[in-house]
Amino acid sequence: MTARAVWEEEPTAVGRVGKPVVLALIALAVAFPLYVVVVTSLSTTEAVTRAGGLVVIPRELTIAAYVQLLSGGVVTRALVISVGITLVGTAFSLGITVLAAYGLSRPGSLFHRPLLFVVLLTFLFGPGIIPSYLVVNSLGLIDHYASLILPAAISGFNLIVMRSFFMGIPGELIDSARIDGAGEFAILRRVVLPLSKAVVAVVGLFYAVGYWNAFFNALLYINDNSKWPLQMVLRTYIVQQQPLPTGAGGVASGVGLGLQAAPGLAIKMAIVVIAIVPVLLVYPFIQRHFQKGVIIGAVKG
């Protein structure tokens, strides 16, 4: 038990009971839907039928739904596409963000103010859907995976977070490296980056989550449903409850998923779980850095 400050009153009976109950309810509100979805995805068809839908009490567990989904078909392909977009996009975004953040972090450098202004101005307005679409279209990027990466590659917020962090690195370290003959690229690689692992991790996570969750760019720019990322599959199949298209452009419920029989609720929930899992996997590693990262981001300019 952690000590209470001496001047503080003992909690009342209401507080003593109420607070844990409220906290438990809040945690439950987040965790319960996830739990139900996972349990249903792991249930057999018979268990789902007996429960009349979603399964709350796990019985007869099986990973059949996952085996089916991941053995080829629409979901497997969408998963590969989403993972690819996320990896390539994150590496690209993180790379150019690190470079630009460092380039803008040396006080008094040439054009540093107007260039910073170019970044900050993006906070104030967005270009709008229609003109963005026309630009992507005229660049020939429709139905090209690059349309899922390039338009979303830079987040001004992430750039500013990283720049603020770089500016906090003592100038003496950078000066001494310079005296030793290091150029700017060497300073970034040998001095600044090794000191910035935390912020690189946080910004990398923000980018990765952005790419993984991206739905709207895919909706706008990807018409060919054989190139759909996972979020589009989720939307079509779970939210809109439509059958998934097969790669050839036809529509089939079971065949397109790589299934023999018509897919059941367990399959649907397995798709939901597949969309959650990557987020859950990286989350614990980066969670402790959030608070710091976000607060740094609040100090702009």
Partner: protein, 302 residues
Amino acid sequence: MSFRHRLRRDWPLLLMVLPVVVLLGVFHYFPTLGNVIAFQDYSPYAGIRGSDFIGFANFSRMFSEPAFWKAVANTLSITTVQLIFFFPIPIALALLLNSVLSARIRGLIQGVVYLPHFFSWVLVVSLFQQMIGGAGLLAQTLRDHGHSAVDLMTKPDTFILLVTAQSVWKDAGWGMIVFLAALSTINPALYEAAAADGANRWRRLWHITLPALRPVIVLLLILRLGDALTVGFEQFILQRSAVGGGAAEVLDTYVYYQGLLVGDFGYGAAAGLFKGVVGLVLVLAANRFAHLVGEQGVYSKS
């Protein structure tokens, strides 16, 4: 120091910024200029150069369109409801969590409530559908106990509360971070002194905690007002077909449907530009206001 000397010294830095400047140029600033098609009878075949300028015809048509004003009204009412029901929740959550003594429990709850922020809207809508939708757990449980099932996902009347509930579920925990940070900077000696002066816990909350939070609250409130026309995009696109355009059409979805799906690009761009310009004015005004009341504002004059 001369320009040439500085250029010779700083060219690696400029080179580093170049990719970002090019990307922002191509995918942010260039499309922003592309908004000129709002003043054109734009044809995709003729392109911007080949299309005729028609002045404000798209705008006057838009302003006489009831569907447009319906979208404006929906956007503003959703903003208002979110302000009333969403805005206070992260503050309350932060106060509650801050009063928990055990660091381990605090960390655990924080970890849980931050999590949904990292889920996509598609996922959030899917989860809500599975819980309270027509084939969801709530309907299923009601049926099992002999009641008639409800589908809260397709009711236009309560749609505004549904989207607010979804926003709360997704982002209330995340919104709490700034308040927790502000709370952690309060000097405990203030509480001790107040207690010595006979202030009970409510008085300490009123006279120490809330004043410490005030700058953050004011700032975020102003920011939210500046963002009044932006209520989120994916959330509405995803649910528009389920509840119908009457309740779910907001400005962003209006632009999408009128401009892109109908293929009326100039008109859609006009609606988008209207939203962008009004939004920009609101943000600038809000920021000016923040400076006036002595807060730091969104961007400080660097």
